[in-house]
């Protein structure tokens, strides 16, 4: 197996606060990699560094053999990494279909001349984009809401829409930031199937999740962050038994999966 994403000694400082300190790990192609840790451990910060929202203070991130540290977010998307947000960030007044089309547009090249003259490529890309977006909506199971404003969708459906939108950009690595947060048990089951389906289609998944059942059931490997430090990494069963991990969770009082999962909703 070759590493798809390598995070090397990544440190992220906000003023005096060290959100990540010398985090190092690698994700293999085709696996589901779980990232867990108590609230404020730095998981989302790691996503932000990988996707270029802010470059890490120190360290290197290599994707498919290419250093991507400090690249602009849109360049990183072009290279094949796309993410969802912990706090849903859809385009609220675009329809579900349009939201996904924005994602699909990352694969398109039509610009002003094509749009102005309605060149063949414009027409082809618009038609393809629309078809692909609709297909993705059905893929994540919300095809019937294609024409609905994103803001009007239910919470769980908005999370699915975020996934569809990210898939639209055609990523080879998909970063999911607590996709199960705020979902009911039935929705969580459907989500688990969806994530497996995505992996089986050849997309590597990096998954942040508080719900232990979801993350342990899905992940091939799990890494644990605590106060910005990577304290454990390995197969779900061994990580679960790791004393340092148990200590981290018990130490902050955020142990139970139920508690952590519901604490997120707000």
């Amino acid at each position: 197996m070759t590493a798809l994403l390598e995070v090397e000694d990544v440190t992220m400082e906000f003023g005096g606060l060290r959100a990540l300190s010398e985090v190092t790990f690698a994700i293999d192609k085709g696996e589901i990699f779980g990232l867990i840790g108590p609230n404020g451990a730095g998981k989302t910060t790691l996503f932000n560094s990988i996707t270029g929202v802010y470059p890490p203070t120190r360290g290197r991130i290599v994707f498919a053999g290419r250093p991507i540290t400090g690249l602009r977010p849109d360049r990183i998307v072009q290279l094949g990494i796309c993410r969802t947000f912990q706090q849903i960030r859809l385009f609220p007044f675009m329809t579900a279909l349009e939201n996904v089309m924005v994602g699909v547009d990352a694969r398109h090249r039509t610009s002003v001349p094509g749009a102005l003259l309605h060149l063949p490529r414009f027409k082809r890309e618009e038609a393809e984009g629309e078809a692909r977006a609709l297909e993705l909506l059905h893929y994540v199971g919300i095809g019937r809401f294609a024409n609905e404003l994103a803001a009007n969708l239910s919470y769980g459906d908005q999370r699915r829409l975020e996934i569809a939108r990210a898939l639209g950009t055609g990523p080879s690595l998909l970063l999911l930031d607590e996709p199960a947060a705020g979902m009911n048990p039935a929705e969580k089951n459907a989500l688990r199937d969806l994530i497996r389906k995505i992996r089986d289609s050849g997309i590597t998944v990096l998954l942040i999740e508080h719900d232990m059942r979801v993350v342990m059931g899905l992940s091939d490997r799990v890494a644990v962050l605590d106060h910005g430090v990577l304290i454990a990494e390995g197969r779900p069963e061994s990580v679960q038994r790791d004393p340092k991990v148990i200590q981290a969770y018990l130490g902050t009082g955020a142990a139970g999966d139920g508690e952590a999962a519901t604490g997120e909703a707000g």
């Binding site: 906000f14 606060l17 609230n39 404020g40 989302t44 996503f47 932000n48 996707t51 270029g52 929202v53 802010y54 602009r72 977010p73 849109d74 998307v77 072009q78 796309c82 947000f85 912990q86 706090q87 849903i88 960030r89 859809l90 385009f91 609220p92 007044f93 675009m94 329809t95 279909l97 349009e98 089309m101 924005v102 994602g103 547009d105 990352a106 398109h108 610009s111 002003v112 094509g114 749009a115 102005l116 309605h118 890309e125 618009e126 629309e130 609709l134 095809g143 019937r144 809401f145 294609a146 024409n147 609905e148 404003l149 803001a151 939108r165 990210a166 950009t169 930031d177 997120e264 707000g266």
Partner: protein
């Protein structure tokens, strides 16, 4: 809340809404893009033909004016008002792209108009021979350059400033306008505050037909404006209905999410700036050749504010809004002045006093109809319902629980691209 004003807007909404009411929800029978399209179904069914129809209707205005169909605006005076409204529509359409589509606040838009006008003056045999110009080209030949100079200026001012966040952009553009005024006031070749006189008017000769646009306010000036307006409308509509327009919408609604979906934020903003500048440059050429004399006082800062007024009152993101805005800002005050027979109205000269009136109208419109009178449907929805980003914190639900200063990705993202 059922004051007469409110009820009026309700009524207006009822007129504008039917398409949305009929829009089927599930499944997707027609391309979803059409959800936001403007104009009635019949109008849409005309396809590209509707631009010809629109041009035809516009061409009917001058003859009807001559017959006295427009009670107040007639004769030479009416033609002048028509011309003013026409180039103002161009300006409003252009700024509409910047403000209405890309969601950027540009307070110095008329700087591009100024550049278009001055480019025209400096490239034709204006003034006395050998004076106030680099070259002495025919008027038509200056047209592409007026366009290019305005667009290049759009890139030059846009690239460094569009990395800044909203408030700074407004200030920088305002400053840019002021700087342009100072430059024109102090350069020798622009004849400083004395301005450039005798800018040649264009002429047309096709076969045996020959027409020289003079100071003569014959309807030909309007016929020159019609294709310019129609082309600008086609440009705006096509961009809006493409990937470019989707990207602008995405940036407006959530910049951080847009950039995470691969939208090149700065590039798309500069693009909006340049597209906006292009119609302004063309309008500048038409204006300069029509009035034949320009000086810095032809382009006061107030003009930038007035264009913004007509965008915002008319309605963000819609063609109808741009036209309505231009009529409200240019034609209506003129008509009122004509009606008052040159007398003051409640102590105001209707034309200069329009600023005070617009202020009041602007406030009323913003209270009862944020987004403007004929705003695009999506824009109206955006304005009325607060988006998620109004909460500032981006992706750190935990941040506030952690007793640390709230994390703020939005600002980090902005700072990052600087």
């Amino acid at each position: 809340m059922s004051s007469p004003v409110y009820r009026f807007f309700e009524w207006l909404d009822a007129r504008l809404e039917p398409v949305r009411e009929r829009a089927p929800r599930v499944p997707v029978p027609e391309p979803v893009r059409q959800r936001w399209q403007q104009g009635g179904r019949l109008w849409r069914r005309l396809g590209p033909l509707r631009y010809l129809v629109a041009a035809g209707l516009m061409a009917l205005i001058p003859p009807l004016m001559e017959r006295g169909w427009f009670p107040i605006l007639n004769g030479t005076y009416g033609q002048t008002v028509l011309f003013n409204t026409g180039y103002w529509i161009l300006l409003t359409l252009g700024l509409g792209v910047v403000v209405g589509l890309a969601g950027l606040l540009d307070l110095g838009y008329v700087a591009f108009f100024l550049l278009g006008s001055y480019t025209t003056a400096l490239m034709t045999h204006s003034g006395a021979p050998g004076q106030f110009h680099f070259v002495e080209w025919p008027t038509w030949a200056a047209l592409p350059f007026a366009l290019i100079v305005a667009m290049v200026a759009g890139v030059a001012i846009g690239l460094p400033t569009l990395r800044l966040r909203g408030d700074y952009l407004a200030i920088v553009t305002l400053g840019f306008h002021e700087i342009m005024l100072e430059v024109m006031n102090n350069l020798g070749i622009t004849n400083g505050p004395r301005g450039i006189p005798a800018i040649p008017t264009p002429s047309i000769s096709i076969g045996s037909f020959h027409y020289d646009f003079g100071l003569n306010p014959a309807p030909y000036w309007w016929f020159l404006l019609i294709p310019a307006i129609i082309l600008a409308v086609i440009m705006v509509q096509r961009l809006d209905g493409s990937r470019v327009g989707r990207y602008w919408t995405a940036i407006r609604e959530d910049e951080v999410a847009a950039s995470a979906m691969g939208v090149p934020i700065v590039k798309m903003k500069v693009l909006a700036f340049v597209i906006g500048a292009s119609t302004s440059g063309i309008a500048g050429w038409i204006y300069a050749t029509n009035v034949t004399f320009i000086d810095p006082t032809s382009f006061p800062l107030l003009l930038s504010v007035l264009v913004l007024c007509s965008v915002v009152i008319g309605g963000l993101g819609s063609i109808g809004g741009a036209v309505l805005g231009a009529i409200l800002v240019q034609a209506v005050p003129e008509a009122v002045r004509q009606l008052s027979g040159g007398n003051t109205l409640f102590g105001f000269d209707p034309l200069t006093g329009r600023i005070a009136i617009f202020g009041a109208v602007l406030i009323i419109v913003m209270i009862y109809r944020p987004g403007g009178l004929l705003a695009a449907r999506r824009r109206r929805t955006e304005m009325v319902t607060p988006g998620p980003e109004s909460g500032v914190v981006v992706d750190d639900a935990s941040a506030t629980e952690q007793e640390v200063a709230p994390a703020d990705d939005v600002h980090s993202a902005g700072g990052r691209s600087t």
